[in-house]
Subunit: 216 residues, 2 copies
């Protein structure tokens, strides 16, 4: 079996098995991912690890890409869009995003990526950004623009509107979790937060609420 990612790499089933072990170690505690630990837990030799991934950074990079390839979801391209489906889609995005950033996997991955971004070596931060913040932006902006085309939303710059949506949804959640705050987000709480965020987004960007010319 071959699992192909969008990076031109082809991963065998055995290799993805190893990467899942690496992922699990990452979640268990940032620095518990040692080459020896991965080899032992995956029942493979270190020689094989180095053959497949080059060095520790290569393994880390492959692990991050592997996780990214797992959470990638299809783009939304709706044919007809009314207020209800737009709202529903936005809430879907918000729920999904909150679920992702509050998952232990995402937290662990972001932590290691943040650490590496400080050390300059490799580019884990860039990979995480590309598959997180920027990926969701590229998927959401077409929806926002469709909403504008349908006369439901009003904004000048889709990027700007998206960043505001991002802030309304995420608020302080990600930084608190990354810094170790024990913040429990139940599915119900996530649903509530998502709904409230979308409400506020509509308050700010609903076409009817577009700020009128102030004079008169």
């Amino acid at each position: 079996m071959q699992t192909t990612t969008d990076n031109g790499e082809a991963l065998t089933a055995r290799q993805t098995e190893v990467l899942d072990v690496a992922l699990r170690l990452l979640v268990e505690g940032g620095d518990s991912l040692t080459m020896t630990a991965v080899a032992r837990r995956a029942s493979c030799s270190k020689e094989t690890l180095y053959k497949w991934f080059g060095d520790r950074d290569g393994l880390l990079t492959a692990t991050v890409r592997w996780q990214a390839s797992k959470v990638r979801t299809g783009n939304y391209d709706r044919q007809q869009l009314d207020a209800a489906t737009l709202r529903e889609s936005l809430e879907g995005f918000a729920v999904n995003w909150l679920s992702v950033i509050s998952s232990s996997t995402s937290i662990a991955l972001n932590r290691v990526a943040v650490s590496h971004a400080g050390s300059g070596k490799s580019n884990l931060g860039g990979i995480v950004l590309a598959n997180g913040r920027f990926a969701i932006g590229e998927r959401l902006k077409p929806l926002l623009e469709a909403g504008r085309a349908a006369g439901l939303l009003a904004f000048d710059d889709a990027e700007e509107a998206f960043r505001t949506f991002f802030g309304l949804v995420g608020r302080d959640v990600q930084i608190r979790l990354l810094l170790g705050d024990t913040l429990k987000l139940s599915p119900a709480a996530i649903a509530d937060d998502a709904k409230r965020a979308v409400d506020r987004f509509f308050t700010l960007f609903e076409a009817a609420n577009r700020p009128k010319i102030r004079s008169l």
Copy 2:
């Protein structure tokens, strides 16, 4: 000379000198802060470092606290509050917060704190949270409540309102910077962003805009 912090520790001038060196090393690159490097750059012996700070974690903790003690600012307690001064104060908070989180010092500190939060050891994440996210919350909430008391703002929960403000101001800035995105925030851009964030906050929470009872 003695610089006292609110932690009961008293730091001599020489000690703060050492901590500034540690801070500089932290900014230069996450893992370049080794005990040997600090000792050499600060022209002090490692023995002294261990005597003063116990171990590496102690030095790191002292460094984080030291930086925190430098950025701490007074609380706002206004006597009379009108719409203009409220807006001005909120913009001040926003500008200050954006300036802090986009500073290289804050980025470096948050990176090391995030790393340590993953490893369980020490409590750098908690310290950074207490002096960042939570400190600003405690300073801002009285202002929001004063705004509500003055009939300028409408919200049920000050914490909730603050978290929304936090999201509107910070958006994706902090996570992007932590992950290594080269995001330049000029003072002018910060001022613009702050103003826009406060505008949106007022759109959401201005007393006149409070959602009326839907029935009728």
